[in-house]
Subunit: 235 residues, 2 copies
Amino acid sequence: MRKTSCELCTNVNCFVKMYCSPEWIHKISLSKSQVYFKQNQEIIKEGELVLGMFFIQQGKVKVVSTGLDGRQQIVRFANDGHILGHRGLGYERYPISAVAMEGSLVCFVVNDLLSEVFMANPKLSMGLMVFYSRELRKIETRMKNIAHMNLREKVAEALLLMMEMFGLNKEHELNVPFTREDIASTVGTNVEQISRQLTEFESAKLIQKRGRKVVILKKAGLEHIISKHFMQYAK
Amino acid sequence: MRKTSCELCTNVNCFVKMYCSPEWIHKISLSKSQVYFKQNQEIIKEGELVLGMFFIQQGKVKVVSTGLDGRQQIVRFANDGHILGHRGLGYERYPISAVAMEGSLVCFVVNDLLSEVFMANPKLSMGLMVFYSRELRKIETRMKNIAHMNLREKVAEALLLMMEMFGLNKEHELNVPFTREDIASTVGTNVEQISRQLTEFESAKLIQKRGRKVVILKKAGLEHIISKHFMQYAK
DNA sequence: CGTGCTTTTGAATAGTATCAAGGCCGGTGG
DNA sequence: CCACCGGCCTTGATACTATTCAAAAGCACG
């Protein structure tokens, strides 16, 4: 496969394209590498050395934190334009893994070039800063939810999260391949509980199980389940 | 009280002092305001408009996310040099509250000045970016822990977190005033469980209860309790 | 030396995890 | 094309952990 040059890339959400000057976009384009990851391949492996950043050109990815016992926690989902491995510009190891949920095309930029890019493109640093602060905000909320919600609510939230990130296809199925295990790792429980809960949602006519796929029938119903955990701010 | 000028401020952890040019430090010094918050006063109130950022000159703060039901989750602790309200440089509302755990002196810089500062001091943006990415990393780990650990482990972790952030005094007591409710909100449970668990730790000779204060007797013991949840990376 | 708030402890209940078994589905090879 | 195999999903029974409710004791402050 031929690598897509940044100039010709159509991904409008890419931070590089959004915030870097044309000459720097060109430099990055020349230096970057591009890799295609098949479904279930690891893009980043927890514990390996941080060599640079990954930019998802097109794909669907789960970011996973693994405990010693092997239990996994899905920390967030990511898709086109999102960044992976953005921890520690210095010398460190990746604290998380990232796994392709379906075939994904990813650009990679090495550390040294990154530092130059940041100093020369203050807008990029600011853009990333804002991006991070929003990520922080999201994950703080999710942390509260994981701590306070009961299982039913957490499963509802997980479905909504996946829907928000990956959307639905024409048949209103969640538009990403996933197993019950994935939902369990998002929620922090086991597959049996997920199965039970999905069955309950199905009999409540909120979703429909179609093989391993899940059809969202009543988004508002799921939202209602978790609504008590969210403040409504006046505009 | 007279406001401390940035030039004379002795806080070496302040991002402004670390990353801004002398002339910008001066500008900020002139424009900033400074407020003293007494114990249990709210520095930031969830839902209010974001007007700028707070820099803790000296103090001890808990950052709290509140559910509609009033249940609170302590998202992180902060002390000297840490930033508060660093969410959304645009127009938004604070998604979290920040409460002084003891008397705290805080500097405040308004939004408009901040954007100028960021554009003129790329090192500051980069510094903050790195800061954020580390915060993200920390909270992702904590999220996994809250999801996977049992109560005993979570309480041990909460004690270690507080110890790491605020340290111990000469008597080896946690060097910050807190209630059982604070630990409960960190862990995501209720005061009764905390009380029981502290009693258990006490009989295991890991801590000692001295009124509401907690003496850490065996840090290694607490660490051992949670060690199974942490990967050991080779250097 | 009350009074109100925090902490502790106990007992009953609810919620979740675990263990075990069987069913379903997709893919592969005969 | 069909039978079989393995992985994923579902369901039930049981054990365990955490929550809730209630009541009493401790402590801090006026």
